[in-house]
Amino acid sequence: MELVRQYRIVSPNIIIITEVLKFKAGDFLKPTAIAPGIDGLFIKNDRFSTTHISINLYIPLNKTTLAHNALLTYVLSSCCAEYPDFTALNLKICQLYGADIGGVADKVGDTQVLRFFSFTVDDELTDQDSSVVLESFELLCKMLFEPSVENEAFKTADLQRERRLTLEKIEGLINEKRSYAINKTIFEMYKNEAFGQFKTGSIEDVCAITEKSLYKAWKELLSSAKVRVQVIGKKLPDGLFENLAERFEGCNRNPMQIVPAVPKNPPQKVNRVDEVMEVAQGKLVMGFTTTFTGNDTETAFLAVFSDLLGGGPYSKLFKNVREKLSLCYYCAARCNRAKGYLMIDSGVEAENAIKAEEEILKQLEDIKSGNFDAEDLAASIRSIKESLRGLNDSQAALDGWYSLKVVGNPTSPEEFIAALEGVTKEDVIRAAGLYTLDTVYRIVPKGKEGVMAYEN
């Protein structure tokens, strides 16, 4: 096994060390166990008195494995062979000075991301003899590599508990109407793809999981996932990357290729979906798609466009639809550059819904025809840059930034800032022209079906 260290100096206090573990045939007794590579990312950051470690597993998003992998994340982080009882595990975590140790399942483009993390105070702040940082990392590894299983199956109680919690999470989505409406729109837009699924998978898929199928999914995951371990803090604990590489050695490694997401083609006609509910206020969500995708640098202008349309208080939607016309309490736009969509969501009084939709489209047309202030464009770029600079002051945010960069070499916030600085008015006009309206999803307050009905 050979360690190749690559340094990249991003700014005076951020040095990224990429450790590429190269495995050579002959290093192992069984050549089939050769793993082609695991990335390590250490971000040295002296300002914190805490250390953040994450082990990120990347696999292609697939409707048949999505629910298994998501549930696996939660079962693995709730117990392990050494602490088969989750109460005992949680007691241990409390004793590690409030360490945040756990797992979360997410999706980026057509890739499923399973993140296992440990966030602890640095050892010098504790009055403990052992290292809290390393002990937490060890515990995290035990969750991932030494789960509580028997006879090639997870235990029924653990499966049942986490399955119920996942199902209730899916069913509970309706409690928050704003996020429910956004999730429903994504589902409607990508009905025929795995991407349309909620990040835990569908109720049917979650229900179909068994103790044995989950075990199989775990084995498959450790073998086929692309892996990146990220450490953010004052120093890289000795032997951490090597320790993890060793643990993966026995996993029959055969990582799958992680490729850019496939964008959706423009629709033949707009898909309109209304849902009637017992609510006071209506919701209006408009989903647009584009076939234009690319890496962070290539798509920076899309981020500026969506922010100018519906980001901060200088945005077209905030200034006009909310402030000037008082058509809604909130009206925001955000784009997903990995998959290639733009989402505009707002909370509207039923009486204003039709007018709000027209006005939102008008604001988009305005950008297309270049009808926006240079000062507002500058304000938008300034605001995005500000929020990116702030990333370096939060380990969790920085870790999130890197772990969600799934394809190719991850871009640093500084590199993205540099790309934003080159965005021009013409770029923004071009961006506005790239999107096609795909789906309009609305929550209609009961009894207001008439006022929210479209003419024709």
Partner: protein, 422 residues
Amino acid sequence: MKTEVISGIAGKKYTLCTLDSGLKIYLYKMPGFTSYYGMFGTRYGSIDNAFVDQNGNTVELPEGIAHFLEHKLFESEDGDAFTKYSKTGAYSNAYTSFDRTCYLFSCSQRFYENLGILLDFVRSPYFTAETVAKEQGIIGQEIRMYDDQPTWQVLFNMLSAMFYSHPVKIDIAGTVESISKITHELLYKCYDKFYNLSNMFITLAGDFDEEEVLGFINKNLKTTPKSEVVPAAIKEPDEVVKPYVEVNLEVAKPLFCMGFKEKLSSDGVCIKDAIAMDVLLRMLVGSASSLYKTLLEKELINEEFAPEYFTGRNIAIPMFEGESKDPKMVKELILKELEKFKTQGLDPVLFEAVRKDMFGRMLRRFDSAESVCSMLADANVMGYEPFEYIENLKNLKIEQVADRLSVFDTEKCVLSVVRRGI
């Protein structure tokens, strides 16, 4: 003007400056950090719905006026603060809670320019009949949005069932009807009363030179003569209004909020008691407790379940919120566990683990400029020294925690439920 440096745990320290106007300024230097965070706040929230004027008369105010004023203060004669901040790129916002109103910004560049905007707009009220009328429409929509939020409704229903007259039960944004009574004259009256610098505070965190910051504030802050806020007395009986309240809304599983009415001394919340209660709640139902395990195994709670010691200026309610197929059973099991704690005593191993857990979490908060500013603001509004919380937590004894069990009186318990209508 009086300036002092106050040192605390693990080498942490902050500078406190009290100006002649009564304004308190807290500065927390964070070497090496890129971001700055600043907050200008007043001890004026939704619970301050009445005050005593100079003639000794109690003046009643429309519900939701503190929140309304917050919305309007962003506007000045020369444009609104959002526009000014969009020129510097800073993030800005404001919020009104039960016991305070805070205006804030965060940035990584042009710190003094951003601080200057904050000092200026918070000290420059500008209200007209026309802008007030327009805001009534926008806030009306905000209120209706809250009507659809079951988690908000379940909390306020609990508060209404707990209190007869304590203003904590008032919805922060008021009602469409109450805000219709707000006029620009009334806003000026509230501003003069509650935005006097002696009732206010500034908290700032970032990598700055403290002396330079204080010099800048002194030079740029508009001051007014010192005047005191005399709050109207709150007359609240010890009993709850009713032990159970239920309403119907579109939710998947019933939502519940259960709380205990705690009697506070006239000095408000004692920080030592508050820490002990925070620890007790985690020992009772935290993720390492046996009750949490029982509730999960009986499928009575899910990940939404959490305890909270709901505290503020003159507010202290130990509460439990979550989703359950059977909220009454959850209540019963919590009451039973409390009884067990009272008769069998507390587990020292669990106590030590929970104390360490909270201690580590508190330490981590010092790594975020935003968290630091919030911690300093909490201390100001509730009237304790900012490091008191973490220092008391470090030295907390199990007996202090056991003492807090007396708060849990079955007769003072309220359960609020929101479920889907049949």
